[in-house]
């Protein structure tokens, strides 16, 4: 092994039934570098990481670590941890029914023993130093996804390690939290830790990374120093084709974004037990609007109240002018509303069921208990959407949990598109989705609007909101504090409204 290399993987191969997830992949991580691992959804990034940390047994290949002559054998995540590899996995793998402090210290050999007091105190220190808004004794499951993700990061960072792996750690974080994370990463880098960073955000790659390794369809495309690989080239290396990610898709799709259609849904004084202040909301035919605001500002809770996902405690809703009593999700679905939830693993996928069953689920429930789709119908639906959204799966019979994160997201999207809703609510639909598909989804949203459907779009990326929405509702502290349309739809204006400088 060369001088300064902390970790080297050679000829890694991994096969799943019907899938060659990795074929002969090499990867080199040097001391004190931040190394981006890039690729489309299903390219094999997470699988490579899991082979490294012993979650999966690799089928072929060797792993070398600094200071050891021979290839190391890592059989379990525990082994990896002992070898100085600390990991944040893509899907949160902490225990939701333990407290935050317990989650920070569980399974760590050099821990606090059984002293709860010291554990909680230690946890408190970590939480405040990273500015995570959670108390040590809080149950993790009650925290938002973002906080859970920060806790997972805090846990990994707090361990003494030579290699730190972050698999899409920023997917639910907002800008400030991302900055905090980058600060941490730079500190560790200065200490000589090698960091593997997986993300679909190109900006973030160019902000912190030194080197990029690109995978495509389970094969190594190449390793590049960041200066030698401008953004456009990186994208074409990942996708295997050119893509103009800056194109003005609004005009391309030709969405009629003027909101003069009739009102599809109108809510007045709506509030729910999730703690949002009563809010008014309306959406017109053919309109794409969005909720924006910091994490925890209540944007998800608003749409959940509309869909009846949380317990509605007050307010009235009219659908196409007629009063509607939406008390549970099925009521909303029958009114032609669809909702893609924020928490993919907890609220979206039905893990052990097949891709096909996951796609037809919502439509099937609407159709009724006594009227199941025939196998042929279900297969036709599944095949149609697998093709339309280019879902990478071995077959429609594969359990959804064995798909890559981004592909799981596409399945859930397919589920709601299949119900052909009049009004579709998308809460973070592009989370964990690669840049090529992200643009496809944005186009799809505009296309739906052009067909006369209405969409509410929530995203942590303001860019993305600007590209798709014609009206933005800004939230702060669980209240709506402003609404922006037309000329006002600029990054600066949005930030100002969020910050509260220019409310109303």
């Amino acid at each position: 092994m060369q001088e300064g290399v902390v970790l080297e993987m050679r000829g890694i191969c991994k096969y799943f039934p019907g899938v060659r997830a990795l074929q002969n992949v090499d990867f080199v991580l040097r001391e004190g570098e931040i190394h981006a691992l890039m690729g489309e959804n299903g390219a094999g990034k997470s699988t490579l990481i899991k082979c490294l940390t012993g979650v999966y047994a690799k089928d072929e290949g060797d792993i070398y670590m600094a200071g050891q002559e021979k290839a190391v054998t890592i059989r379990s995540p525990q082994d990896a941890q002992n070898a100085g590899i600390s990991t944040v996995y893509q899907e949160i793998t902490l225990c939701p029914n333990l407290t935050v402090a317990e989650n920070l210290y569980i399974g760590r050999s050099k821990g606090f023993g059984t002293s709860w007091k010291r554990m909680n105190a230690g946890a408190k220190k970590i939480l405040t130093s990273l500015g995570i808004p959670a108390s040590p004794k809080q149950q993790l499951g009650t925290c938002s996804i973002a906080v859970q993700q920060m806790v997972a990061i805090a846990r990994a960072v707090d361990m003494e390690c030579k290699v730190l792996i972050l698999d899409e750690p920023t997917s639910s974080l907002d800008e400030q939290e991302v900055e905090k994370l980058f600060g941490l990463m730079r500190d560790l880098k200065a200490k000589g830790v090698g960091i593997i960073f997986v993300t679909h955000f190109l900006d973030q790659v160019y902000e912190v990374c030194d080197r990029i390794t690109v995978l495509r369809d389970g094969q190594l495309v190449g390793e590049y120093v960041i200066e030698d690989l401008p953004r456009v080239q990186l994208v074409s290396k990942m996708l295997g084709k050119e893509l103009d990610e800056m194109a003005d898709i609004k005009s391309e799709v030709g969405a009629a974004a003027d909101a003069s259609g009739e009102v599809v849904l109108e809510a007045q004084g709506l509030c729910s037990n999730a703690g949002i202040k009563p809010f008014d909301f309306s959406v017109r035919k053919g309109e794409v609007n969005g909720f924006t605001g910091l994490l925890g500002s209540g944007r998800s809770e608003c749409v959940r109240a509309i869909f009846g996902a949380d317990h509605v405690t007050g307010g009235t809703v009219k659908v196409e002018g007629k009063p509607a009593h939406i008390r549970k999700p099925l009521d909303a679905m029958k009114k032609g509303i669809g909702y893609l939830p924020e928490d993919r693993k907890g609220d979206g996928i039905v893990g052990e069921l097949s891709v096909r069953e996951n796609i037809i689920l919502a439509l099937q429930v609407m159709k009724g208990f006594f009227r199941p789709f025939t196998r042929a119908q279900a297969e036709a639906f599944a095949d149609e959407y697998i093709k339309l959204l280019e879902i990478k799966t071995a077959s429609a019979d594969t359990p959804i949990k064995s798909l890559s994160g981004g592909n799981q997201q596409k399945v859930i999207l397919a589920r709601w598109l299949l119900t052909d809703p009049k009004y579709l609510i998308l809460d973070e639909p592009t989370r964990g989705i690669d840049i090529g598909t992200k643009i496809e989804i944005q186009k799809l949203v505009l296309k739906l609007a052009a067909e006369g459907k209405s969409v509410t779009f929530i995203s942590s990326e303001i860019d993305e909101m600007l590209r798709t929405c014609s009206r933005l509702i800004v939230m702060r502290d669980r209240k709506t504090v402003g609404e922006l349309t037309g000329e006002d739809l600029t990054q600066a204006k949005i930030m100002a409204t969020i910050a509260g400088g220019e409310a109303q």
């Binding site: 080297e8 047994a57 379990s76 793998t93 199941p372």
Partner: protein, 370 residues
């Protein structure tokens, strides 16, 4: 630092799976293999085990007789229970341990109705089908009680059903004022023994009928999809418009109906009831049948045919042990050893391991991550 060139042919081979590996991954592999082993064992030890002859029963009718017939006959209650138990397991991730006691209640209700309150009745006081129907309704209400505790009060199934497990047999006795009614009308026993002129035991037909009903229900309704969705991820099931609580409740009520049919078969075998002994420990066999069929006891995906097969294997095992004169007191111990072996082998974790030539199971490793 180039990686050594690998043989491409080898790659293709490891990507494709061997026939054996695919076979062992089948859910029904273990119960089928167990059945084959039991058959082989008996064939080698004593081929006459499989002999089927025609004998005259006490009424002078020619009927089929033999170990195989007796296995199929005696497994009936267990098979019917294990189907219902499979659904309950799938939706609620737990088991109903009150089925034995609930069978006592159902049997007691039927005897009370057909005997019309008499201790020793020679004729039926109520149409048998009507009595069975009432027993099913009563049983489903008890199922609803269990289901409500589990679904709406979120009590662990094992704990929730402990109540009826404890009280059920007393309730059964109370229904008949602590009497032990006996039904002497021969037609009452048709269901538990033989129909006139038909040499095959009636419970076998009843069981086939119940299996057929569930086959139809799973084919022509969404029972399977709904219970599995709720069992795997109740939160996302709800966001897809399902009512997880109601579906859990429903499965407990369906199990209730199964219990009534099983209880009916059991009392119509003898025309009498012993509250403390009837269907004793049958809940354990029913749970084992579910596990043996390769169903995860933690809920989620299920296969009722696995459970059916599991139930027959358990009965086959019991009959085999009896045949080799294992003392009835020692029987449970023998059975336990074999059953534990089978259940461990059919556990999803182990099955996955079996299918791997080398390396570790992803499921287990993934667990260690958290």
């Amino acid at each position: 630092m180039t990686a050594p060139v690998k043989d491409p042919v080898k790659k293709v081979e490891s990507a494709r799976e061997s026939f054996f590996k695919r076979l062992t991954r089948q859910q029904l592999f273990i119960p089928l293999a167990a059945l084959v082993l039991l058959v082989l064992f008996n064939l080698i030890a004593d081929p006459s085990f499989f002999a089927v002859s025609i004998k005259e029963n006490s009424l002078g009718n020619p009927v089929l007789s033999g170990n195989i017939i007796s296995v199929l006959d005696n497994a009936s209650e267990l098979v019917i229970l294990s189907i219902g138990m499979t659904l309950v397991t799938a939706s609620s991730g737990g088991q109903d341990i009150s089925v034995g006691a609930a069978m006592a209640i159902a049997g007691s209700v039927i005897l009370r109705l057909v005997c019309g309150g008499q201790v020793n009745a020679d004729t039926m006081h109520m149409n048998l089908f009507l009595a069975l129907f009432i027993a099913i309704v009563v049983s489903m209400l008890f199922g609803a009680f269990n289901g409500t505790l589990v679904a709406y009060f979120k009590i662990q199934p094992m704990v929730a059903t402990l109540i009826l497990y404890t009280a059920g047999r007393s309730i059964a006795a109370w229904i008949n004022n602590n009497e032990l009614p006996i039904m002497n009308d021969i037609s009452f026993k048709y269901a538990g023994t033989f129909l006139p002129g038909i040499p095959v035991p009636t419970p076998i037909f009843v069981t086939l009928f119940v299996i057929l009903l569930f086959w139809l229900a799973l084919k022509f309704t969404n029972l399977g999809l709904y219970t599995q969705s709720v069992g795997i991820n109740a939160s996302s099931a709800r966001l897809n418009g399902l009512n997880p609580q109601f579906i859990k409740l429903l499965t407990y009520m369906i199990l209730g109906a199964c219990v009534a049919v099983a209880g009916f078969l059991r009392v119509s075998r003898s025309g009498s009831i012993n509250y403390s002994r009837i269907a004793e420990n049958i809940e354990m066999d029913a749970i084992l049948a579910v596990a043996l069929g390769g169903n995860a006891l933690g809920g989620g995906k299920f296969n009722i045919y696995g459970s059916v097969l599991g139930a027959y294997v358990i009965q086959f095992l019991t009959t085999t042990l009896y045949k080799y004169d294992v003392a009835s007191t020692a029987l449970p111990a023998y059975k336990a050893v074999v059953v534990i072996l089978l259940v461990v082998l059919s556990a999803p974790v182990v099955r996955e391991k079996l299918t791997r030539v080398k390396g570790r199971t992803p499921a287990k490793a993934a667990k260690e991550v958290s």
